[in-house]
């Protein structure tokens, strides 16, 4: 294994060593830090917004309004007017409502990309950790190779294979996370393997399957949650990058921040807010998840317990 993967891996493994029993303890410490609270507040507001936005959006985000279209030309996109807080977008739709609903679609992409990454990663890592031996070597070799391809290129290669759709983006972005989660879970389970309670269970003759599912897996979940929080942030950014490169979702009506940002790049001189607002939304949300994830990671890190 190369040092890069070693390094990425070390980072992942150090997180893995934590375990859940420590995690609860760490969690309590986490939320004493103002940084973590800030992250939690941002993420909380974002999730609430995502849930309620379809109900609070003042206008239908998926249809054009004659009032907005009245003054719309390629070099003049109407700004704020009564009833339309942020005016029009390039298609005569209500920009403010789309921005609100964008939270939901963005969360959708982020969550599903992460979930799929976690699931596939955990299956690989779990198999490796549970079986060990050659299964472990083979699967870990595979994840190392995935880690050795620059992440965006990995996503690009996958996105280029499929027609542009929301699921294409989700899957392409999810693949970035797969090797990370695989390593993480495997590391955590390896650490569990030699831990006292697993040894005790083995000595008592508990079946291997029971040990894996009752003891090893539950105790390994903490680090995965931390990493998933961090991955959510990068998933949202990576999805936006794919849109920017023209490999994004091809549903032009969909209100999703990354897509809105990608579509607005040519309109910077007409109405910069069409790009700026989605961009700021992405930055704030990504920051929220990063702050939260980093604080949890730091409190999980055994070194910081001195």
């Amino acid at each position: 294994m190369s040092i890069l993967s070693t390094r990425k891996a070390d980072k992942i493994d150090s997180l893995a060593e934590g375990g859940t029993s420590l995690a609860m303890d760490a969690l309590r410490r986490t939320f004493r830090s103002p940084v973590a609270i800030l992250g939690l507040v941002i993420v909380g507001l974002f999730v609430i917004l995502a849930i309620i936005s379809p109900f609070v959006a003042p206008k239908d985000p998926y249809r054009p309004y004659p009032e907005l279209k009245a003054e719309l030309t390629p070099s003049n996109i109407p700004g704020p007017m009564p009833g339309f807080l942020l005016g029009s977008d390039q298609n005569g739709y209500d920009f403010f409502s789309r921005l609100l609903v964008g939270a939901q679609q963005t969360l959708f992409v982020g969550v599903f990309a992460t979930l799929i990454g976690v699931t596939i990663g955990m299956i690989i890592g779990g198999l490796a950790g549970a079986f060990g031996g050659w299964v472990d070597s083979l699967l870990m070799r595979l994840t190392d190779i995935m880690l050795s391809i620059p992440s965006l290129l990995l996503a690009i290669s996958i996105a280029a294979l499929m027609p542009g759709s929301q699921w294409t983006v989700i899957i392409a972005v999810a693949m970035i996370g797969v090797p990370v989660f695989a390593r993480l879970l495997r590391g955590a389970m390896m650490a569990q393997r030699s831990s006292d309670h697993v040894l005790a269970a083995t000595a008592l003759g508990v079946k291997r399957r029971t040990i894996v599912f009752r003891h090893m897996l539950p105790n390994s979940i903490g680090p995965v949650i931390v990493q998933a929080t961090l991955t959510l942030a990068t998933a949202i950014i990576d999805a936006a990058a794919l849109s920017f490169l023209g490999l994004g979702d091809s549903d032009w009506r969909r209100a999703e921040w990354g897509l809105m940002l990608g579509n607005a790049q040519e309109l910077l001189s007409v109405k910069p807010s069409l790009a700026f607002f989605p961009a700021i939304a992405i930055i704030v949300v990504a920051l929220g998840f990063t702050l939260l994830g980093e604080s949890m990671r730091e409190s999980l890190d055994p070194k910081n317990r001195r």
Partner: protein
């Protein structure tokens, strides 16, 4: 050391081997199959059939694969569908541009990242530290391409300070030596060409530097904190050495070891970032080639570039491993 080198080299081989299989399979998974993809717009059923024969697509897969492997080993990646030029030739024109941009970005990231990381560590827990940590987290949260747009908006549209895109003024008739614009000017004595190239380089380099910068700050900070807690530092302190000397000779020097190796590890991030940055600034390097290839579905070029990126990445990792082993002998036995 020799044994270690050989072992690492041998370990890189299977990785590259598997990668070549993946890229080979990838091309065969593309919608319409390789012949259609390669023929692009001109694909008629007859031409596809003819092409399949030329490509030997009727042969067993393993025969095809080794043929493909043989070609790429001799550097034959086929011709771009956009320009008709050999992919390797295009790469040789574009590579210096990307190299220049990446090196400049890394230079900036190191120049500002290490001092900031060190300062953050020295003021651990205080305002300066928190501010630095939050800054780096913001740096990671801002999409690179958006940062590029923002910089362009401020420095070219609003302030008209710097050129918005490209590598050099069109009217500067610079002699091409290495293809690295800033260097060529110095080599040939065309200083105005260098000056102009540097002005063009600033914004994209800053945009691209944002993420490695954040990483370097954080690693420096963590590493300095680590070293500060080590016994030899405590010893040095208790020996009565001045804080200055302890910091300089013991803390900083030891803390920089891991930092120096992470620099090499940023290659992957730089490559991902370069694709985006080069698009924003119409830089004309490998990233631009890749982006065009995506837009126009230039599969031979796409295949060549992905393989090239991955190979460079693996090789850089190898170099980093070797340099790490030189610095820290313990690694060799791991």
């Amino acid at each position: 050391m020799l044994r270690f080198t050989v072992r690492r080299l041998l370990q890189a081989v299977p990785t590259l081997f598997v990668l070549s299989i993946l890229v080979f399979a990838w091309l065969r998974l593309l919608p319409g199959g390789p012949a259609t993809a390669l023929l692009g717009d001109k694909a008629t059923p007859e031409r596809v059939a003819a092409m399949n024969e030329v490509l030997g697509l009727d042969d067993p897969l393993y025969v095809q694969y080794f043929g493909f492997l043989g070609r790429i080993l001799t550097g034959d990646f086929g011709n771009s569908l956009i320009t008709g030029d050999p992919v390797m030739e295009e790469v040789s024109w574009a590579f210096p541009a990307t190299l220049e941009l990446s090196v400049a970005a890394m230079f900036l990231a190191v120049l500002f990242g290490i001092p900031m990381g060190y300062i953050a560590a020295r003021f651990r827990g205080r305002f300066l530290d928190n501010a630095t940590v939050v800054t780096t987290l913001v740096g990671v949260a801002v999409p690179v391409f958006f940062l590029g747009f923002l910089l362009k908006y401020i420095f070219t549209q609003e302030m008209s300070l710097l050129p918005p895109s490209g590598r050099q003024d069109v009217l500067i008739d610079a002699t091409r030596v290495t293809g690295i614009a800033t260097l060529d000017g110095l080599l040939t004595g065309e200083f105005d060409a260098t000056w102009d190239a540097m002005l063009h380089l600033i914004l994209p380099a800053v945009a691209l530097a944002s993420i490695p910068f954040a990483v370097i700050v954080r690693i420096t900070r963590a590493s300095v904190l680590d070293v500060q807690g080590e016994d030899f530092v405590r010893t040095a302190n208790s020996k009565g050495l001045t804080t200055q000397i302890v910091r300089k000779r013991h803390v900083l020097r030891n803390a920089l070891l891991p930092v120096s190796t992470t620099i090499g590890l940023q290659t992957g991030l730089l490559m991902s970032g370069a694709v985006l940055t080069e698009k924003v600034f119409a830089w004309g390097g490998l990233g631009t080639l890749l982006e065009q290839a995506i837009q126009q579905r230039d599969y031979p070029r796409l295949q060549g570039l992905i393989l090239l990126f991955a190979t460079v990445f693996v090789l850089v990792n190898l170099l980093v491993d070797l340099s790490y082993a030189i610095i820290d002998p313990r690694v060799r036995v791991r």
